[in-house]
């Protein structure tokens, strides 16, 4: 009995001694919720599973299995819709662009993973699985949120979870406040994430119409991008382009045309629609010139 008590005292003392030191081990903020303690390091596997589960939910159960993995969509509309929304806004200036339709048909082809049944068992079994490809809409997109929440709980360092959830919350479900809160939570867990900063800026600009905050956040996003990506062999130029484009739109609205032109030049380097941007740059230059010419 005495030995047990002694052992308990030693363990407790050791834990108290080591705890402050343990906090400084590693840069990542360690998750400490119940789920994380239960799942341990395997939580990232579960987090990924729940993220996929959100996609399954988005497709109302019609989803390729691991045996159809080769045929899995490269990027599900649950994830890619937020990018298309962004592009669609710009494309509204140039209605000739039809990338949205092109992506949809590509997605349809990707999701046609159900081959012809090979035997009577598979043929009959098709009656008991979902075979119709649909996407959630009309407010039902809310059903993907619990899975994204769980995924974020288990792996707070998975940035995409926050940005995807924020898109659906803000733009499809009209929950701007919740989207911002979630993004800020993501930022606390990932202070250097330019992706989250970009989404947060969009929330401030598009939903709150808070130009000042949006500008600050987007500029911070560009700085964070430069710190992290510029030295890489294969930097994420497309996201920088999107940040720059959005910031350019903001500056254009505020009348800062030369700043806007500089940002559009930056965006043009990696934009999928350089011609569109060139046209906008030309337009802005014309407006700048007309402003400079005295009447």
């Amino acid at each position: 009995m005495l030995r047990l008590v002694l052992l308990a005292v030693v363990c407790f003392s050791l834990a108290t001694l080591l705890e402050p030191r343990a906090m400084t081990w590693g840069n990542r903020r360690q998750a400490d919720g119940v789920l994380k303690i239960v799942f341990g390091e395997g939580r990232r596997l579960f987090a990924n599973h729940f993220f996929v589960q959100a996609d399954v939910s988005f497709h109302s159960g019609y989803y390729p299995s691991i045996f159809d993995q080769a045929k899995r969509p490269k990027e599900s509309p649950m994830v890619s819709d937020r990018n298309e929304h962004d592009e669609h806004d710009h494309d509204s200036h140039h209605p000739d662009a039809d990338t949205h339709g092109h992506d949809e048909s590509a997605h349809e082809r990707e999701m046609a993973f159900l081959q012809a049944p090979k035997d009577w068992i598979e043929r009959f079994g098709r009656h008991f699985i979902i075979t119709e490809h649909t996407h959630l809409s009309g407010g039902k997109e809310r059903e993907i949120l619990p899975w994204l929440r769980l995924s974020a709980e288990l792996d707070p360092q998975q940035v995409e979870t926050y940005t995807v959830a924020a898109y659906w919350l803000r733009l499809r479900l009209g929950k701007v406040k919740e989207a911002e809160e979630f993004l800020r939570e993501g930022l606390r867990n990932n202070p250097n994430s330019y992706q989250i900063l970009f989404e947060l800026g969009r929330a401030y600009y598009e939903s709150d119409h808070d130009v000042g905050r949006a500008r600050n956040v987007w500029e911070l996003a560009l700085r964070k991008w430069k710190e992290q990506e510029s030295s890489k062999k294969d930097p994420d130029l497309s996201l920088r382009a999107r940040i720059a484009e959005n910031l350019a739109r903001l500056e254009e609205q505020e009348g800062n045309f030369d700043r806007a032109i500089g940002l559009l030049e930056l965006a043009k380097k990696a934009s999928p629609h350089p011609a569109n941007l060139e046209a906008r740059i030309a337009e802005l230059r014309a407006r700048l010139a007309s402003r400079a010419t005295p009447k």
């Binding site: 109302s60 159960g61 045996f67 009959f124 079994g125 008991f128 809310r142 059903e143 949120l145 919350l169």
Partner: protein, 259 residues
Amino acid sequence: MNNVIALAGVVIKELYRRKDFYVLFVLTALITLLLGSVNFFNDPKIVRYLKDICLLLIWISSLVIAITTAARQIPAERENRTIFPLLAKPVTRGQVIVGKFTGCWLACGFTLLVFYVFFTVVSGTREQNWNLEGILKMVWLHWVMLGIVVAMVLCGSIVFSAPSANITICFIVVVGILGLGRYLHRVALQQGEPVDTVLSVIYFAIPHLEWYDVRDFLVYDQHLAPWVDCGLATLYGAAYMVFFMCVAWVVFRRKTLTV
């Protein structure tokens, strides 16, 4: 028939006097209600995750109850020597098998009813939509699946000497079929011989329990298969139940029981 019903009654009494069912039901209810009380982004209308998790818990609980109840029937009778006063009555071994199966299957049916009533109440009150026909089909298919599992486990309890081995093997087989049964043939066709033949034989021989897992339809509010297809699946299930019970009877008939 009288003997079969009498034996089934004893099995059902045993189930509701043991604590397994109550523990599993309380656990399922607690987890479901806990999850139901969680606030996801201030949206009270989110319901599919709850249905998904509740149905998963129901499936796990029902499989645990079915397999553990069926696995201990005959071995417990032999171990506790209750088989001797029973077989000393005008009861055949075949009637014992059928009686045990009927009791286990009916017991599973009652537990399913309780679980699904709970599920219906929880999902219906949250969703304000009562898909009773869909739930009825799902309960029926689930019950048929459990019938196949019970028959398989009963057969295993006579073939395997240790109940723990039987339970482990049956759990692995059932979970394996539910997860992989659908894809075995496709995987087989991608392999060379003899793996191709072995997997194909397994694919055509196993009972395709995954047919009866129609949770996705209820979770995602899709239309379930028509009653005709459910009927055909029931016949398929009944065939396997009869097969496993025949094997069990043939093996049990030859077993020497010594006092």
